[in-house]
């Protein structure tokens, strides 16, 4: 197989698939690498298995996903599933080096343009007991459901805030799952603050209508919903047994065997940060996003980013942003000229505009509770290295100026996840303790390999 391409796309979600489909359709030699065994990303994970579904809360999503995957598979783009990227190099002599592995052998691919479409991850909010077996994210439970059909079991509590929480609850109930209750942490004040964005959001009311319908469905099923929950703790000796939560100053405790947490999604910026692209702090969404232009170009030559990884916009807008990035790749590679790119982009931008007005409303409504960023001293922030918030504060007290120095003091962020999980919450703690802006604090430096790689895999690498 050839290892030199014009356009290399990382990630087979809506943005990556759409970009590859557009570029390959214009005759650009395109390869798409993805970690998963099947295309779809997380949102349309294993979606081809749902091709025959005709009903259910997610049938419209799945149909959209099946269409995207079908177009991608027919596009002529080369598809390398089960492939992890572990290093991205700055372009040299006009081509970017992308180091990959399939778990057995490392390899290096060359491309004149690279699109990073690595999507989103669930925001890590450290709470007491979040490392206990039995505690996982809502997204994790949804992946189990999408790949195995397994619904939630008796003893399951869901806690947090955000659209995915309600979608998953409705899906789980539809699949015959049990939910003992939902602890909704959306602060009361968010509703009032989101109201001023409700009118623009009504320009495409399908999102609002659907959100309300999902909530109504969960309520109709008789699932108890506790509003305005201010704090959550997981309790148990080696395994989750109880969930404690605070509502209007009162602590309560319930029995639980599974606790599913969700605090919204944030861009996965590991890859874009590894190439030293510029990032900015988004204060309402409380996350770092790569700085990109209207075509997805990052501050680094040869590299673009699109989809939720370049700022949370949702699946439909991500697909359009992917199309724009695909057109821009074709332009940059000389396959089409500027006029042709703009002509093809015009209807895509019209579509994109339909899916963006809801974002300001959702961002404001689900902006996380400020208290979540000040975990108690005994709460583990870095799961890999078991570093508590208290030790991070101690390191700051001893003079650690920022995340990287704090990491050297404590090992926080030095474990196998390389700070993907603890990066944001640790930066939030530093910002609070030192009275700094998040933009000034930043995140841990990212160094290759982006994923652990064995010497055996590495030995297969060509000279």
């Amino acid at each position: 197989m050839s290892k030199t391409f014009d356009f290399l796309v990382i990630g087979a979600g809506p943005a990556g698939m759409s970009a590859a489909t557009v570029a390959a359709g214009l005759g650009v030699s395109t390869v798409l690498v993805d970690e998963q065994p099947a295309p779809g990303g997380q949102i349309y994970r294993n979606v081809e298995a749902h091709a025959g579904d005709t009903r259910g809360v997610s049938v419209a999503d799945w149909q959209r996903g099946v269409t995207l995957v079908g177009e991608f598979r027919a596009s002529g783009a080369i598809y390398r599933p089960g492939t992890q990227v572990w290093q991205l190099d700055a372009p040299r002599d006009g081509s970017c080096m992308v180091y990959v592995t399939d778990g057995e052998q490392a390899d290096v691919l060359r491309a004149r343009r690279v699109l990073i479409a690595t999507g989103a991850m669930e925001r890590a909010v450290p709470i007491s007991g979040w490392t206990l077996p039995g505690v996982m994210t809502v997204g994790a439970a949804q992946i189990l459901y999408k790949t195995t059909g397994r619904a939630t079991q008796a003893g399951t509590w869901i806690a947090g805030s955000g659209p995915l929480l309600w979608l998953f609850a409705a899906q789980a109930l539809e699949a015959g799952g049990k939910i003992e209750g939902i602890l909704d942490t959306t602060p009361r004040i968010n509703y009032a603050q989101a109201l001023r964005y409700a009118v623009p959001a009504l320009r495409n009311h399908a999102y609002l209508t659907r959100g309300l319908a999902l909530q109504a469905r969960v309520k109709r099923a008789g699932v108890p919903i506790v509003k305005d929950v201010g704090a959550i703790e997981a309790k148990g000796d080696g395994v989750l047994a109880r969930v404690r939560f605070r509502m209007r100053g009162q602590w309560q405790e319930v029995q639980a065997s599974t606790l599913l947490l969700h605090h919204g999604v944030v861009p996965s910026v590991h890859a874009t940060r590894s190439i030293h692209a510029d990032h900015r702090w988004a204060p309402v969404q409380r996350c770092f996003v790569p700085v990109v232009d209207e075509w997805g170009n990052t501050s680094v030559d040869g590299y673009a980013a699109a989809g939720d990884g370049a700022g949370i916009v949702g699946a439909e807008a991500s697909a359009r942003k992917g199309q724009l990035a695909g057109l821009e790749a074709a332009r940059a590679l000389g396959t089409i000229d500027r006029a042709r790119r703009d002509e093809r982009a015009a209807p895509v931008r019209v579509e994109l505009e339909r899916h963006l007005p809801i974002r300001a409303f959702l961002d404001q409504l689900f902006t996380p509770r400020a208290g979540f960023f000040a975990p108690a001293d005994d709460v583990l922030v870095c799961r890999c290295e078991s570093v508590t918030a208290g030790r991070i504060r101690e390191a700051i007290g001893l003079g650690a100026m920022g995340p990287n120095q704090m990491k050297a003091f404590t090992r926080c962020g030095m474990g196998p996840c390389q700070g993907r999980m603890c990066g944001l919450p640790a930066a939030e703690i530093i910002a609070r303790e030192r009275g700094m802006a998040m933009d000034e604090v930043g995140l841990f430096n990212v160094r290759p390999p982006l994923k652990p790689i064995s010497l055996q895999e590495l030995a297969a690498l060509p000279e």
Binding site: E35, P37, A38, Q42, N46, A49, H50, G82, Q84, G103, M121, E122, W130, T131, L132, P133, G134, V135, M136, T137, G139, A140, A141, I143, L144, T147, T148, G149, R150, G238, V239, S268, R383, C384, E385, S386, G415, P416, C417, R420, M421, P452
Partner: protein, 90 residues
Amino acid sequence: MTSETVTVYVDGDPVDVAANASAAAAALQAGLGYTRTCPITDEKRAPYCMMGICFECLMVIDGMPSRQACMVKVRPGMRIDRQLGPRKLQ
């Protein structure tokens, strides 16, 4: 949904799982509870994100330690074992 299943061995016990499942999903379905112990504190840990971010699901798969079990699709006869403490050097 597909109803195709494969048989894998979770801590030695056979379990039938969906052919699309990951090794981590198989371990959870088998009721394994914890899938590793933390190399620092020896606490019990289990898969958390299921999408390759958190590295909490490191397990021994077909004898190979420190595999991200949520990123490995099951194969017939796959051996999926807990990883206790740090990975052992071979």
